[in-house]
């Protein structure tokens, strides 16, 4: 028996969240909001980029939400949440001073070690930019440890663009390249239009010196991204994809996120292209 001794009324356990306080919240777009969350006493969450927490909004349930701030940020962490279902609608109604529950961090996270000393190509689709922001910020805070940083970001329309000021800041660094595209250009949009894969011809990479991390949706997009990268000569064990799945527990018990022989919550959510190819149901 690992962990806490089990007895009546023991207030600790696998499914018991820690009460945390929202200390900041701001709207990013018409449907996305960033929450700054603080654990008791400003304790560090201790996460790695790409890990997620199980977020409780009491009375509405629990949902897996990726952490979108880097581990280096002390005292609090950020969660970017899109308003989609009952829990996230309720969460969007909360603000500073309100309490939520946090379990985790869970999952494996992105391969930051493998990225050190390498060029980093980051491919983000839609809200997939949120977990990748923790990667980008972590690279920023340890800039000399990494090579080039190339971000390819595709989203539905200009009004859905997340973290616009940060995109500006990232692109200001000459070692970085930030390319943004929208599926549907609206009036006044002077940038690129088309799905995220249409950005690939616009960048030149050294495929053997590059590690790719990607989070794009819907899942069929992974196949197109993988095909583009293979055409560019990137080896399949240099490509890492974070999978999205429904989860109820985050700890490999509830069954919902199983993909063939794996649980996305504990074995992932980040898998190499080599692994993904052996998982029939994955993308």
């Amino acid at each position: 028996m690992k962990g806490d001794r089990i007895g009546s009324g023991v207030e600790a356990g696998l499914y018991v969240p820690e009460i945390a306080t929202i200390v900041g919240a701001r709207d990013l777009t018409w449907q996305d909001r960033v929450f700054v969350v603080e654990l008791a006493g400003g304790r560090s969450l201790g996460h790695r980029p790409g890990q997620f927490v199980q977020l409780s909004v009491f009375g509405f349930g629990e949902a897996p939400i990726s952490v979108c701030s880097p581990p280096e940020k002390a005292g609090s962490f950020d969660l970017c949440v899109r308003k989609l279902g009952g829990l996230t609608k309720a969460l969007h109604g909360l603000g500073p001073g309100d309490e939520v529950g946090i379990r985790g961090p869970f999952g494996n996270g992105f391969p930051m070690k493998a990225m050190r000393g390498m060029d980093c190509l980051i491919v983000a689709g839609g809200i997939g930019l949120a977990p990748l922001r923790s990667v980008i910020d972590s690279i920023f805070l340890n800039r000399s440890e990494y090579g080039r940083l190339i971000l390819l970001y595709g989203t539905r329309s200009p009004r859905d663009i997340l973290f616009p000021e940060e995109l500006e800041a990232w692109s200001a660094d000459p070692r970085n390249e930030v390319l943004v595209t929208v599926d549907e250009a609206s009036e006044g949009w002077g940038g690129h239009a088309g799905v995220v894969t249409t950005l690939f011809p616009r960048v030149t990479i050294d495929p053997v010196r590059t590690v790719v991390v990607a989070l794009v949706g819907p899942p069929v997009m992974y196949r197109f991204v993988m095909a583009e990268l293979e055409a560019m000569g990137v080896p399949e064990d240099h490509m890492f994809f974070s999978l999205e799945r429904r989860m109820r527990c985050g700890v490999g018990k509830c069954g919902h996120c199983q993909v063939d022989g794996r649980c996305v919550c504990v074995d992932g959510p980040v898998f190499s292209a080599r692994e993904i190819k052996t998982m029939k149901e994955s993308v």
Partner: protein, 345 residues
């Protein structure tokens, strides 16, 4: 093998003594034919001559609905959890069902222990009853889970004319003998021999529901199943989830918050991977939109090599409850044979 004899006239006394310190769960007849496992108030309730209980042991370790958290949103949020600490002895339960618990142990134990499950599991003792007359739907020989076990129990009883031959499989099983030494006799060589003869005879009595799991496992694991098999199985499956509820090893759950005023309870309850909304995400995307996708996922978890490695064994024990419960003939023997042959028959 360490074995003792519990004479026929001492069985009830042994059960009564077990009941003094634990809840004793045993097969009980409900109505004319059906046998359910349930807590007994007297040894007279035990149905020793039965085939398969309607339900497996799952609900005693993983209740169909279970509170996993209580919270109050009155003022500062407070949370707490309680764990079931009831001692239980499972007496006279089938070998296939005891083996099913081993699969639950792998799912709910392992690197991350589920405290609700493990609190019950650590307080449970399993006394298996060997099966001398398999029923027509049974195929535990294909599931390596019966009709007699070689291990995995605390005690295993075999009914002989003069009483129960008691095989001891664990320290807990041994302690039950030691604490009740006055009831037990030495086992004679011919009584042990009778147990092996009965096991061989029982193995000859299986019916038509053979499940060719080795062949199905190979094709599933290598991704070589003919797509038509899933389409045909999907035509038959009613998506009722009955097989998952009756299966000793299906253990998926979902979680719901329920509020009464400012007090809430977070409950988990059984879910079924066959339901269309099971894997559907908040965005509306469903990784398994078609019923054949869901059937493939279920059988992959039951009998693929990948999950067998993870769980320490295949998840199908061959109890045959899916044969009894399936309205559409998409049960494990039918589907595993379909996988092997490339067509559902």
């Amino acid at each position: 093998m360490t074995a003792r004899m519990l004479p026929g006239n001492k069985i009830d006394e042994f059960a009564v003594r077990l009941m003094r310190s634990a809840e004793v769960v045993a097969p009980r007849r409900v109505g004319e034919e059906d046998v359910f496992y349930g807590a007994i108030a007297s040894p007279d309730e035990i149905a020793w001559d039965y085939g398969t209980a309607v339900e497996p042991l799952k609900r005693f370790l993983l209740p169909q609905r279970e509170p996993i958290l209580r919270f109050s949103t009155n003022g500062r949020i407070r949370v707490g959890a309680e764990y079931d600490e009831q001692q239980r002895v499972f007496l006279g339960v089938r070998c296939c069902d005891v083996t099913g618990v081993a699969v639950l142990d792998a799912m709910y134990g392992g690197d991350t222990v589920d405290p609700y499950y493990m609190s019950r599991r650590e307080r449970s003792t399993f006394i298996a009853l060997t099966c001398q007359q398999p029923e027509p739907h049974c195929f535990c020989v294909c599931g390596d889970a019966g009709p007699f076990l070689e291990g995995g129990y605390d005690q295993q009883w075999t009914a002989l004319p003069e009483g129960m031959l008691v095989e001891i499989g664990s320290a807990a099983g041994e302690a039950l003998v030691r604490d009740n030494e006055d009831l037990f006799a030495e086992a004679e060589v011919d009584q042990v021999a009778a147990r092996y003869r009965l096991a061989r005879e029982a193995e000859q009595k299986f019916g038509e529901f053979k499940s060719y799991i080795a062949g199905a496992m190979r094709k599933l694991s290598m991704n070589e199943v003919a797509p038509a098999v899933w389409e045909q199985a999907a035509d038959r499956c009613m998506e009722c989830g009955g097989c998952t509820y009756l299966c000793p090893t299906c253990s998926c759950f979902t979680v719901t918050d329920r509020m009464a005023g400012q007090d809430g309870v977070r409950e988990r309850h059984w879910d079924a991977c066959l339901y269309s909304c099971y894997a559907r995400e908040a965005s509306g995307h469903n990784p398994r939109p078609e019923r054949e996708d869901r059937l493939r996922a279920r059988f992959f978890h039951k009998i693929s090599h990948q999950w067998a490695v993870r769980n320490g064994r295949q998840a199908c024990v061959g109890c045959g409850r899916c044969v009894l419960g399936c309205m559409g003939w998409a049960h494990t023997p039918a589907v595993s044979e379909g996988i092997r042959r490339g067509v559902m028959t």
